[in-house]
Symmetry: C2
Subunit: 212 residues, 2 copies
């Protein structure tokens, strides 16, 4: 499979983890989002939303990281990234969406550029914005983990799911942006457990060939 | 089922459409997001993220609209909200996420309040922000519909899917905030077709008992 990716993209990070967990080989095509590679006509023809990741599986074009994770899980069921139980699946998908829908989209490059370039808010207010929304997501995850009896070393059960993939990719930017993570002990226990697993560690932004 | 909802919430709108399409009866519990009902301790115990919707199916608590739609579709398979074909499912989920992950979260009340109260940007810049992100999502949907051979009266195939539910809930706020919709003829054709269907029309924000 061919992955259009950027090392710092949390959504690309999610897809890299899933591909690693399922032992699917990939070829990377690197875009530098801060330099605007995503706006080039060539990439716009691949992904009209001009965001990463895009995954090509032969001539099947896949976009939006959570849709890609569901596709990979359906096509390559082992190891499963969703629980067998319907109610647990809903919980796992809900946790994933707290990151992928309600936190991460607020801090991506295009939003940071709008805050800095269009609204001229300056670096301090932009950093405050980022920490505010990362914190909101982390606090929600921490509370939900506390009330979920199946959470332990992972978000649910004894293996990685899309929930824990999203948790890890919520923590990584929080570390980059110096958020205070001590308030989220359940989240951090799970993060540390996952980052000791090779499929997660190898997918980390700092480990990518395009990392600066 | 019991739905914690707010008439203007686009995420609640998505769940209302799905429940209507599947002919599932619901009891509504209304929260007024502009008055801060979502921050009350009683609701925080239900939904630690302090957002709507939350859906209770007996003692099963469901959160995040797309996770709820997947759950409803798994428990009540007819009529299906996802295509039978795996590649089509990925496309449908991707379209849904363009709205639910990359557009709508940027314009919800908590974000608008941050822009107005915390950043003191004023109404004009806030409206510019809203239109900018609604446009980005609509433009991506329009382009993707143009390259998808199965798009017609709906986003995919001959019946509603989670993609079209997300498209409708992308257009509704765009109308509220006076976005220019003439640039999105494919999107608007589908929107108009859907809003003539009772399950969609009855779920519209203006039709809810808590509408002002």
């Amino acid at each position: 499979m061919k992955l259009y990716t950027y090392y710092r993209s949390q959504a690309s990070f999610r897809v890299r983890i899933a591909l690693n967990l399922k032992n699917i080989a990939r070829e990377d095509s690197y875009l530098h989002l801060e330099k605007g590679d995503q706006f080039a006509a060539e990439y716009r023809a691949v992904n009209p939303q001009m965001v990463v990741p895009t995954l090509l599986d032969g001539d099947v074009k896949l976009f939006q990281s959570l849709a890609i994770l569901e596709y990979l899980n359906e096509k390559h069921p082992e190891p499963p990234l969703l629980p067998a139980d319907r109610e647990a699946r809903a919980w796992v998908r809900g946790i994933a969406l707290i990151n992928a829908a309600d936190s991460h989209p607020l801090i991506v490059p295009r939003v940071r550029h709008y805050l800095l370039d269009e609204l001229q808010l300056g670096q301090d207010k932009m950093m405050g914005w980022i920490r505010h929304w990362l914190d909101a997501g982390l606090a929600a995850m921490e509370a939900l983990l506390g009330e979920h009896k199946e959470s332990g070393q992972f978000c649910h059960g004894e293996r990685p799911t899309i929930a824990v993939i999203a948790l890890v990719t919520q923590v990584t930017p929080a570390k980059t942006f110096d958020a205070d993570l001590a308030s989220y002990p359940r989240v951090m226990r799970i993060y540390d457990h996952c980052m000791a697993i090779r499929a997660f560690a190898d997918a980390h932004p700092a480990k990518q060939p395009d990392a600066e």
